[in-house]
């Protein structure tokens, strides 16, 4: 276990953005909560029920910047994951130690799909808590007839629980994309980003000109942005375009529906195959 944990630490040593980026986001949110201008009074028409909704929305919204940031950080992390060691020629140093190619590839994959997102979730929840606390204290000082202040521990836990569930669900849903990026990272001799973009772009363009259809594009769009649709079990909704209202998202979140999605399991199988391929590529990849 110790041996695997050191592989994770190694990734955090090399890719400082993995821990620095979410910490910066947290710092910005807290500074904003402390010094940002905000109105703490609401019209009298806003009743407690709607204030609860607002509280839930803010609890959720405060964590969103973490996931947007992590998506970008992890995209570049994955593209770099098996390429950097070849670029800086350190691969033979790593290979001189008794760490198998499989352990290396799997550790990097798990950092991207599970460990970094879970760390972002923890930090997001903590930031949300601190920020709400700060805002609550500030609203106490503000004179108002109908204060925005409302604390609902149950709702806060519920929201963070749903986010945690989404993070775990996203790990499975995005696994094939992560594994695909790792294959490109293990294979490309340079310009990893270009090589990663080329196959989907070529497929979409070729399909359009050859058949006049856009199945590949639809398929990729559903995989990349169709995540919310999957979560809420909204079969008819255009999840990619209109994000469902938070209230609805909370209510309609349906893990069973999600786990019943055959596309998910096909994706997981594809991810396993791609990871095996990345391991093979690293085994004899020889640029030195």
């Amino acid at each position: 276990m110790n041996k695997y944990w050191i592989l994770v630490r190694r990734e955090y040593w090399e890719h400082r953005a993995l821990w620095a980026a979410p910490l910066i986001v947290a710092a910005l949110i807290l500074v904003g909560s402390l010094f940002g201008t905000a109105s703490f009074s609401l019209p009298d028409s806003v009743d407690t029920d709607r204030k609860r909704g607002l509280f839930g929305l803010i609890s959720w919204g405060l964590t969103v910047p973490f996931y947007i940031t992590m998506a970008i950080v992890l995209l570049f992390y994955l593209l770099d994951s098996l390429y950097a060691e070849r670029r800086d020629r350190s691969i033979l140093f790593w290979k001189s130690l008794p760490v198998s190619d499989t352990a290396t590839v799997v550790s990097k994959f798990l950092v991207a799909t599970l460990i970094a997102p879970l760390a972002a979730w923890s930090l997001g929840a903590l930031t949300s808590l601190l920020s709400l606390g700060i805002l609550g204290l500030r609203s106490l000082g503000a004179s108002s007839n109908n204060s925005v202040l409302l604390w609902d521990t149950g709702l806060w836990l519920h929201v963070q629980g749903l986010i945690l569930l989404s993070v775990l669900v996203a790990a499975l849903w995005y696994a094939p994309i992560a594994a695909y990026l790792m294959v490109v990272s293990a294979w490309a001799k340079r310009s990893v980003f270009v090589w990663a973009s080329l196959p989907p772009v070529l497929l979409i363009v070729t399909e359009r000109y050859a058949f006049g259809t856009g199945h590949v594009q639809t398929f990729l769009r559903d995989r990349i942005v169709g995540f919310a649709k999957l979560l809420t079990g909204d079969a008819s909704g255009e999840a990619g375009r209109s994000i469902p209202s938070v209230g609805r998202l909370f209510e309609s979140f349906d893990a069973v529906h999600f786990l019943n999605n055959p596309g998910l399991w096909v994706g997981v199988l594809l991810a396993v195959a791609l990871l095996a391929f990345a391991v093979r590529l690293r085994r004899y990849r020889d640029d030195t």
Binding site: I6, R9, E85, D88, R89, S90, L92, K95
Partner: protein, 288 residues
């Protein structure tokens, strides 16, 4: 010879049409320091990569009784190598390097590595990118020499280092590391530098093993005679494997002739490994 550490039979490797190794067979016993010597492109690095399981090949090869193609992960527990000294990743800190190797290698002795480092002027928090080339080598060496491995492979370990450092490197290797249980395999094309520490030489040229002998055998097998005029002509009749002219006299190297037999022709001495190397490379060039 007891159970060989390396047992290669018919080792062959082709890169497209180019032959890097052709039917190379050799054995390396325990407690030996073997110089794998050959000109650039002779197949030295390919041989090492095959031994270390870094490249596929055909033929039979057992290292510590294991097949490097199938059992590389197991093999790396007992084999260490330095491929090219400057390949430690730039972002790595000295203390991180120690921690990493300590966790992934069961036979790493951290105290020993720290003792090596204490002699060098290295701070634990320094990153590799802040170190001079000589310091990086010292770090790499400290890591590798603190591992209790049965086979150490060094590929051009002193390339690009100054004379003082090269001398210190080999002194450390011989005094602090080598013992009867360990085997060291060194490739270099700077023969003069290693010839005093080798117990065996393995000359390789154009993918073929052209000489495989212990250094004691070399002394009894090969004799160099320096003669001039008629004596030179008479000596030539005994078929030297190599000759060259120095200041009007002729230096000839004989294989399998006794010193007593040759003393009559002129001044005799044991040829250096460097002389023998040149002799074998040139006679191979004449033959082809």
């Amino acid at each position: 010879m007891t159970t060989p550490i390396i047992d290669a039979r018919g080792l062959t490797k082709r890169y497209g049409k180019r032959v890097a190794l052709e039917d190379a067979s050799f054995q390396v016993g325990p407690g030996r320091i073997v110089g794998l010597i050959g000109p650039n492109g002779a197949g030295k690095t390919t041989a090492l990569k095959s031994i270390l399981g870094l490249t596929p090949f055909s033929g039979e090869l057992k290292v510590l009784g294991l097949d490097p193609r199938q059992q590389r992960d197991r093999l790396m527990q007992d084999v260490c190598f330095i491929a090219d000294v400057a390949v430690l990743p730039k972002w790595l800190r000295v203390k991180q390097a120690l921690t990493y190797v300590e966790h992934v290698h069961p036979r790493f002795d951290r105290a020993r590595a720290e003792a090596f480092l204490a002699r060098a002027d290295l701070r634990p928090t320094q990153r590799v990118r802040e170190l001079s080339k000589g310091m990086v080598t010292q770090l790499h060496l400290a890591l590798i020499l603190a591992i209790d491995a049965r086979l150490l492979v060094l590929d051009e370990p002193t390339l690009g280092l100054d004379l003082l450092f090269r001398r210190a490197f080999y002194d450390t290797l011989l005094n602090d590391y080598f013992d009867k249980e360990r085997t060291i395999l060194i490739t270099t094309h700077q023969v003069e530098e290693v010839e005093n520490l080798l117990t065996d030489v393995l000359f390789i040229n154009r993918g073929k093993v052209v000489l495989n002998a212990s250094t004691e055998d070399l002394a009894t097998r090969f004799v160099q005679v320096t003669a001039s005029g008629e004596q030179a002509s008479a000596a030539r009749a005994l078929q030297p494997i190599y000759e060259r002219e120095i200041f009007g006299r002729v230096a000839m190297i004989f294989d399998g002739r006794s010193a007593d037999e040759l003393r009559v022709f002129g001044e005799i001495r044991t040829p250096s490994v460097a002389d023998l190397f040149i002799a074998h490379m040139q006679s191979a060039a004449v033959a082809s």
